[in-house]
Symmetry: C2
């Protein structure tokens, strides 16, 4: 049940968000690049295709998409805001050695806490850090 680009443009329409060229391109980029890119990565790559693209537009577009619940913001580490087209609840693992971010499935319902009985929970975020299998294999276990 992977979300497609068409699903997303229909969602935009239904939310009365104009389907501008830039917005569609940013959406398309996020669908095709599920590595949780930063603004800079998105801007640098799309700039090759759209030479007039401004970084402000990338910020504006991402904020619009976040407001519309089409994109989720990830703050797994300071100083690098990332964006995820997958808005379903799942965990993120960041490798301290190579910096890659992995998605992982986790049973959210098992994560109840009595301390939150009277809280209204809107969103759950799970971030793990450590060393990924590839870096373990290559012996890159020391890196920061």
């Amino acid at each position: 049940m992977k979300i497609t680009f068409e699903d997303l443009s229909n969602k935009l329409k239904s939310k009365n968000i104009r389907l501008s060229h830039q917005r569609l391109k940013v959406l398309e980029y996020l669908v095709n690049n599920r590595c949780h890119p930063t603004v800079d990565q998105i801007y640098t790559d799309l700039h090759k295709e759209i030479p007039t693209l401004s970084k402000t537009t990338v910020y504006n577009t991402l904020n619009t998409l976040i407001d519309a619940d089409l994109v989720k913001l990830i703050t797994i580490d300071e100083n690098e805001t990332r964006y995820d087209i997958d808005t379903t609840t799942h965990g993120h693992f960041k490798c301290e050695s190579c910096g890659a971010i992995y998605d992982f499935e986790i049973n959210i319902n098992s994560m109840e806490s009595e301390d939150l009985s009277y809280f209204k929970i809107n969103d759950k975020n799970i971030y793990f850090n450590g060393i990924c299998p590839r870096c373990i294999k290559e012996g890159n276990n020391m890196a920061n």
Copy 2:
């Protein structure tokens, strides 16, 4: 088993980190103010006591304490890095209405994921968002 200021200065000693006046004050502040303060809050409050205190020192000190595993960094929302003297694994809940951050207990062992079988996990972070009981009571459910 609440950690005390004495425990912490002993830990500093054992890690060969000098017990400067500023460092002890920042540590003391974190022990006494478990609201997960920002650099700005720490600086503003301590500046009243220590007029010569520099914000750079607060940053330096916090980074030193983090490297020594005495303090944990919290990135629950963009643009506001927070610091926690409680380094045991626990969850954080941020109220979208009043901005308060609550700690909650959660069974970390129940949070296993097959996807991470071959990963080395060093740290687990759990952040929830929503509305806290006080704001629900007062009807502040709409705020951002």
